[in-house]
Amino acid sequence: MYSQGLIGADARTDETPEFLEAFQNRIDAEEKIEPNDAMPEGYRRTLVRQIGQHAHSEIVGMLPEGNWITRAPSLRRKAALLAKVQDEGGHGLYLYAAAETLGVSREEMTEELLDGRAKYSSIFNYPTLSWADIGTIGWLVDGAAIMNQIPLCRCSYGPYARAMIRVCKEESFHQRQGYEIVMTLAQGTPDQKAMAQDSLNRWWWPSLMMFGPHDGDSVHGDQSMAWKIKRFSNDELRQKFIDATVPQAEYLGLTIPDPDLKWNEEKGGYDHGPIDWDEFWRVVKGHGPMARDRIKARKKAWDDGAWVREAALAHAEKRKARKLVAE
């Protein structure tokens, strides 16, 4: 196959079979690909899409948790939640920076998010309905994110791998903090315990869906594996997550809302009941309960902030002009 590709951000290169093979050899030798290295256009596009989606997920993910900052039930929790949501914004920032090394700008990516061309993790299209959701999101959603992201610390693309190392450290802190919130509730008053159980009931299945469709139904799987952007299949990661999480729920005295969940001695892991793939695809296609509200909130922040960004630019221009005159 003969197609057009890019070296780094702009220079064109021909993707001959020799080129593709040489590239694959570098990947197989576990060499890191850096921004100025030659890479197949498909590799670049896959990364732009994936890193962009990941960045958008961090940013949109600030909204469901941000929904409880003003109501956090103690000052200690309020401070911790603010810091957590701020961390997520920071993750967004490093990830946009990593994507920018591939020749797309943060503005372009933001526009794609706002007009619906770019996706973000569907989990954030569910609403946070109680304080317990703040604990559950940390425990399950950050927990699932870690399962997905730990292997990305070894991703073949250097800037993404390095961003992930930093992000994963913070995500595991979020996961522990979330679990600790749920533990406090589970050991609290009957109302608090009921709140924790209700929250687990609502977030369990969407958390399992975070790993994506079954391996047989996943479109981007094989090539991403060959390029070492992805290291484990969706089902493998989902299984790891379930196996790690079930004992944690048991320890809390909470019930996982899956009557078919049981230990399978032979495979050394849990079997789980069927995932509602209709719901999964509905939410992925933008019909999640909060999908419109999330984008509306991001769009409002962006539009309301336009005059601020314009003023910052105008001021910088004025200063530059004044400096020139002074020189």
Partner: protein
Amino acid sequence: MALFDAVLELADDHLVLGHRLSEWCGHAPMLEEDLALPNMALDLIGTARTLYDYAAQLEGEGRSEDDMAYLRGEREYRNLLLCERPNEDFAHTVLRQLYFAAFMKPYWEAALSSSDEVIAGVAGKAVKEMAYHIRHAGEWVIRLGDGTDESARRMKDAVEALHIYTGELFEEGAAEGIDALPSRAAIQPAWEATIDEIFGHALLSRPVVQYPQTGGRVGKHGEGLGHLLAEMQSVYRAHPGATW
């Protein structure tokens, strides 16, 4: 109890303003501000926590920092009206922050040598934080004041709306006659100098206020504070005695 009241006033200022800043989280004009605004909110809430804890200790009736924050209503809150003013737009928010920080930095500097160890301890940390808030908010006031026509208009509107609340910064309130705390009135020249310096670059002028608005220190607030507290306290009050 006079020191208790004065510490509570300070704590309320920090919590209420911190809460207002936290309302921006996820909705700021740019990602950098989605990080910077919570950063400043965290500084303020951190200071509020130390001060509530200290107030509870001075009172000696077994109340916690959370009891102080979550179980007092709007008539019992003692914060400055400036701190409770709504976010409105980014111009209002950065100006409110500048007004507050330009006061608190010299206030905490004076408190560094306080005979009260807790106050001196808070001051040590807060001086640096307030210097950052002045820098960050002040840079924005300058950018917006000397940016586009729209930003200049919004900045002027913010000055017009908020300046009437600044006189209250210099009222002694419950701190009257307490040696462990700096005189608030004495801070006024330093505050004015900071504001004038920044306003000079921002093409703004400091208005003369004929009818200042005060009343926060005696619990006479605007209507917004009740809503802020109702939201903030809702979960805590719905579960009396629960641990979080």
